[in-house]
Amino acid sequence: MDRPLRLIPADPLDQLARTLEALLVVASAPLSIEELAAAAGDDPERVEDALRLVGERFAEERSGIVLEHVAGGWAFRASREEAAACARLFERPAQRNLSQAALETLAIVAYVGPCSRPDIARIRGVAADSAVANLLERGLIAEAGRDTAAGGAIRYRTTPLFERVFGLESLSELPRLGDVGEDAAGIRDRLHAVAEKRSA
């Protein structure tokens, strides 16, 4: 049998998808399912369904705008194909010219965080003050309370912007670091040799 005659002009899910599109195009940061549901006045399961619909519409190679799941939420971004045009007009201050020191510091905060400047300095072997200040200014890390130990150094964690810049859905998407393996063994042997020489 044919499909029954539709008296309602728009599919309700389609209507919800339009609402989500509107919210996402105005937002300047990824919106969580809960935020979207609250703003749209609908329930989270339906919002997820509608997001799937929006995602089909705004996909790479189909649209200049792409929906992505990033930093624990949903956001629109430019399609990769249009990056060159975007680069001619827009700057990306958060990720431009990240130094090796800044990247190492960022890596430590992302993997170990929340951690303090002394924690970072201990791992890197040099003071982390300027790298931390630089990352703070870029908005890639933010303060996250203080150490419980005496002194109470400020601790830092990565921000949602960090996840967004690096295209991560969450920090759990960071790869597991492989064991340094042979390198570590080599270092150890050399140090043992030095130690023996000194104690002799």
Partner: protein, 256 residues
């Protein structure tokens, strides 16, 4: 100018720079006691005596003084040093290896981030402070303490008594119906309650019913009802019946 032959005259040390270095390396002189700024000043004074800048000497001096500064800085953080010094050489080596491995991992992670950034370099998105709608706040208008006191005074007063007169239910006196039913039963041996009160208002009916119950309690009449909501039949009690017939007989005799 030969840097190593630089003569020093410091609080903790007097002699050539070369000797100072030797003593420090042999750990016979504690760097924490040495005024490094004094060494720098001595070097600069010697440098100023010359007509032209001795770049080679400057370079050598920079390397040496930098090394001394690093050693002194490390010495000034006793915790770190004690941590390592307390360990025997094997443990110290192990600890150093652990730290190097940790740093190696941080570098590896940094490398991953760099690659990721290169790979994600073509992602452009909107940035900026999230302009979320501010929470609606309703600030209180500036208040006059006098007005507040006035409001409180008003609240502290006893409220006027509210008249309930319009709500009072005026029941017709039950006694009215007592007499009425007694009268009825004098004339008739039985009657139907509903029929008797049919023309009355609801309040009067209620009073009438109370009167009926009162008479029943006093044993002046009997009530029958075949079923709930069936008509209420009121009749004389047997005793009343007899009394009535006597009265009737007496009346008849008298009237005869």
């Amino acid at each position: 100018m030969i840097v190593r032959e630089l003569e020093l005259d410091l609080d903790a040390f007097e002699g050539p720079f070369d000797l100072l270095l030797a003593l420090v390396l042999k750990e016979e002189l504690d760097l924490r006691d040495v005024d490094l700024a004094g060494i720098v000043i001595a070097f600069l004074e010697r440098l100023a005596e010359k007509e032209e800048l001795d770049l080679e000497a400057c370079g050598e001096f920079l390397v040496l003084i930098a090394a001394l500064l690093e050693l002194k800085a490390r010495a000034l953080f006793p915790d770190e040093e004690a941590e390592l010094a307390e360990l025997d050489p094997e443990e110290a080596a192990e600890e150093l290896a652990r730290r190097l491995a940790e740093y190696r991992r941080a570098k590896e992670a940094a490398g991953w981030l760099r690659d990721r950034l290169a790979g994600e370099g073509d992602r452009f998105f909107r940035l900026g402070p999230a302009p979320l709608a501010p929470r609606v706040e309703t600030p209180l208008a500036p208040q006059d303490p006098e007005a507040l006191a006035g409001a409180l005074r008003l609240l502290a007063q006893d409220p006027p008594d509210v008249s309930l007169s319009h709500m009072a239910l005026r029941f017709p006196p039950v006694s009215l119906f007592l007499e009425r039913f007694r009268g009825l039963l004098r004339r008739r041996s039985r009657f139907d309650f509903e029929t008797e009160v049919a023309e009355l208002t609801r309040l009067e009916q209620a009073s009438a019913f109370l009167a009926l119950l009162e008479l029943r309690r006093a044993g002046e009449l009997a009530i029958e009802q075949a079923a709930p909501f069936a008509p209420i039949r009121v009749s004389r009690t047997q005793q009343e019946n007899n009394a009535q017939s006597e009265r009737t007989a007496a009346w008849t005799v008298r009237s005869a």
